[in-house]
């Protein structure tokens, strides 16, 4: 693709060329995205317009985000503040994001990979370093999120949300509180009323947690042990869900689900019979981050947009909608007590201390996948 080989420095020159020749090519490369994209504001004109953003780039930005993961008016507000049209497309899993960018960036400027995929995409040379001089709002980030193992010094990624896996459950049907992985992983107590996340890596790591191991120290022998446990537990599990466990819980299909705290917190607003708990053995943390993929057509707009999202007031509006834990200390300070003191969104520190971020381990991933295929085939 034309954009892919374009480096940051020569971009300004290339852009005019693109304007002249590349309209068809750009239109083509976005044809596939149009199906799942949501145009914000009124900028539906396909041809590059004469409008110039404050950054000196064409006033457009292509944002590749998770569903229900932005404030209701954030994109329009950004257009109001900077005049830049944000075209948001949605992905459902990190793997989808990776697969789409793997053969070259189809034109995205800002993407939202999770922590282990930041490592993976840095290894694969798929994302570019961020220019911290263009991101003054980095000062709003909670200092504990700056020097993280998966991206020391935040060279490539800015934290957008963090989240933790745990058990979402229906209070009236589940007694006592399932504060261990046992009812989910190793018991027939809730036969046919359990749904587990269908992410092989996450499942194996959490079983490791249940067995008292670190999520990052699993070996091939552990996989054998865990696989046997999973096969034994499988008859009691109703479904492996695609990160829509909260819906299964609300619809009454199951009474216990393995899910992220933010997903359950969103549903607790609608249904007060559900709750969320982090098992006492500890769990796995994730963090979704803002990154700029290599070959982004509007890298300066991308920096401006990331900086905008890290603003305290903007972060507050986003958080009000998505209800995920925010790593943005300034935005959190603006939130009402009902959010700040919500034990689902911000679990007790003693429990969080037992949770870990999963490292990207290229050697283990194929083993997890094949073992999980065996579990499903058993």
């Amino acid at each position: 693709m034309e954009q892919r080989t374009t480096t940051l420095a020569e971009f300004a020159n290339r852009r005019s060329l693109l304007k002249g020749l590349g309209v068809a090519a750009v239109g083509l490369s976005f044809g596939g995205l149009a199906a799942c994209s949501k145009e914000s504001g009124n900028g539906t004109d396909a041809a590059p317009s004469a409008k110039i953003a404050p950054t000196g780039e064409e006033s457009k930005l292509n944002f590749y985000n998770w569903d229900t993961y932005i404030g209701e008016t954030t994109l329009d507000d950004f257009k109001g503040a900077s005049g830049t049209d944000v075209n948001m497309s949605l992905f459902a899993t990190n793997d989808e994001l990776f697969a789409k960018l793997r053969a070259g960036n189809p034109g995205f400027d800002v993407i939202v990979p999770s922590n282990d995929f930041v490592e993976r995409m840095v290894t694969a040379d798929m994302i570019v370093p961020l220019d911290h001089a263009l991101l003054p709002n980095i000062k709003n980030i909670d200092p504990s999120f700056i020097d993280v193992a998966y991206d020391p010094g935040r060279k490539y990624s800015m934290p957008y949300t963090w989240l933790v896996l745990g058990i979402g459950y229906r209070k009236s049907k589940v007694k006592p509180i399932p504060d261990s992985w046992k009812p989910l992983f190793d018991s027939d107590q809730y036969k046919g009323r359990i749904a587990l996340l269908s992410e092989a890596g996450d499942l194996f790591r959490l079983y490791g947690k249940y067995l008292g191991k670190s999520v990052n120290d699993l070996t091939a022998a552990d996989i054998k042990t865990i696989e046997a446990m999973m096969i034994k537990q499988k008859p009691f599990v109703k479904a492996f869900h695609e990160d829509n466990g909260q819906d299964l819980l609300v619809k009454g299909e199951v009474d216990l689900v393995l899910e992220y705290n933010g997903d359950i917190a969103q549903k607790m607003v609608e249904d007060d019979d559900i709750d969320f708990v982090i098992p006492k053995e500890g769990s796995q943390l994730n963090s979704d981050t803002l990154c700029i993929p290599k070959g982004a057509p509007h890298p300066k707009n991308a920096h401006a947009f990331i900086n905008y999202l890290l603003d305290a007031a903007v972060g507050k509006k986003i958080t009000e909608t998505i209800l995920y834990p925010t790593p943005n200390a300034a935005a959190k300070a603006l939130m009402p007590d009902g959010y700040k003191n919500n034990p689902v969104v911000f679990p007790p520190a003693a429990l969080l201390a037992k949770c870990e971020y999963a490292k990207y381990r290229p050697d283990m991933q194929p083993l997890y996948e094949e073992a999980f295929t065996r579990v499903r085939a058993a």
Partner: protein
């Protein structure tokens, strides 16, 4: 009349666009995937096409081969149910009054107007634990309990919802629902062309309705039945969405495994090999059908 084959210029002009389209967007991508199936991952995003058969030998390991066989069994059962359900439907349409036919055909084709994903989600809310089927059954259960005591049986206990979703039954049900039009339409086409006087003759000469269907209608409609079987079986074999959304913990089909190779496992060469195993199977099926047609033609 001129033979159109003697007008190469005109023929080329008409064929150029579709042929280019086919080569560019079908043959070339397929060839790339085919090449991948002989490669191996050398990095996160790089594939070395080394001509290895390792992916194919892995695809033939018992684990994947059994999933493959299970997919064939699921697709075959789906096709069989479609045939049993679709044949009377096609008969009814073929023998309906002419002014009704377009409307009945429209009814069969109507589901195509809605996306498969939407239809599958609709099925989810029909079959769910608190879905329409279970709600109706629960209402009947609660309101007709007195019938049981009226005939001297004990009052029934509380209603237990039927497990209609997240199991193999749901997958078969969903597949039949989705693929039924594929079966009905070719069957209808064959039955509609049938010489109706042959049926009258059969009935006049003393054959019953069942004998007429099995000895007269079915053999005459055989080409339609066979093409119906194939165009139902082939997409059912590669179905991905239905087992993914409606299946339980053991309902994975080969397409779900292929999807995981391209996404979660990030193993495109192995995913490509699995896809091509599916393609080879399909090709063989179609080739057998073509061979069969040829021998029939040769005989007649």
């Amino acid at each position: 009349m001129q033979d159109w084959k003697r007008q190469p210029g005109f023929f080329a002009a008409i064929a150029a666009a579709p042929v280019t389209w086919l080569i560019l967007f079908f043959i070339v991508p397929l060839a790339i995937v085919w090449a991948y199936s002989f490669g191996r991952n050398t990095g996160l995003t790089s594939i070395d096409i080394s001509g290895t058969f390792a992916n194919y030998s892995r695809a033939l390991e018992p684990l994947y081969f059994e999933i493959f066989l299970k997919s064939v069994a699921v697709a075959a059962l789906t096709t069989l149910i479609c045939l049993i359900v679709g044949f009377p439907v096609a008969m009814a349409i073929a023998f309906a009054p002419p002014r009704w036919k377009p409307w009945l055909l429209l009814l069969v084709m109507l589901p195509f107007w809605t996306n498969l994903l939407i239809r599958t989600y609709a099925l989810l809310s029909v079959l769910g634990t608190r879905g329409f089927v279970n709600q109706t059954l629960e209402w009947l259960w609660n309101h007709c309990g007195w019938l049981m005591s009226a005939v001297g049986l004990p009052e029934p206990g509380p209603f237990q919802p039927l497990p209609l979703l997240y199991n193999n039954f749901a997958v078969i049900f969903g597949l039949v629902y989705v693929h039924l039009p594929f079966m009905v339409l070719p069957l209808y086409a064959a039955l509609d062309r049938l010489d109706k006087s042959l049926i009258e003759a059969s009935l006049d000469l003393g054959a019953g309705h069942w004998t007429t269907i099995t000895r007269i209608v079915a053999p005459l409609a055989a080409p339609g039945i066979i093409s119906g079987l194939i165009i139902t079986f082939v997409p059912a074999l590669g179905s991905y969405l239905t087992p993914e959304l409606m299946g339980g913990t053991d309902s994975q089909m080969i397409a779900n495994v292929i999807e995981r190779q391209f996404k979660r496992a990030n193993d495109w060469p192995f995913g490509a090999a699995l896809s091509f195993m599916l393609m080879y199977a399909t090709f063989i099926l179609i080739a057998l059908q073509a061979l069969r047609n040829k021998t029939i033609e040769a005989r007649s």
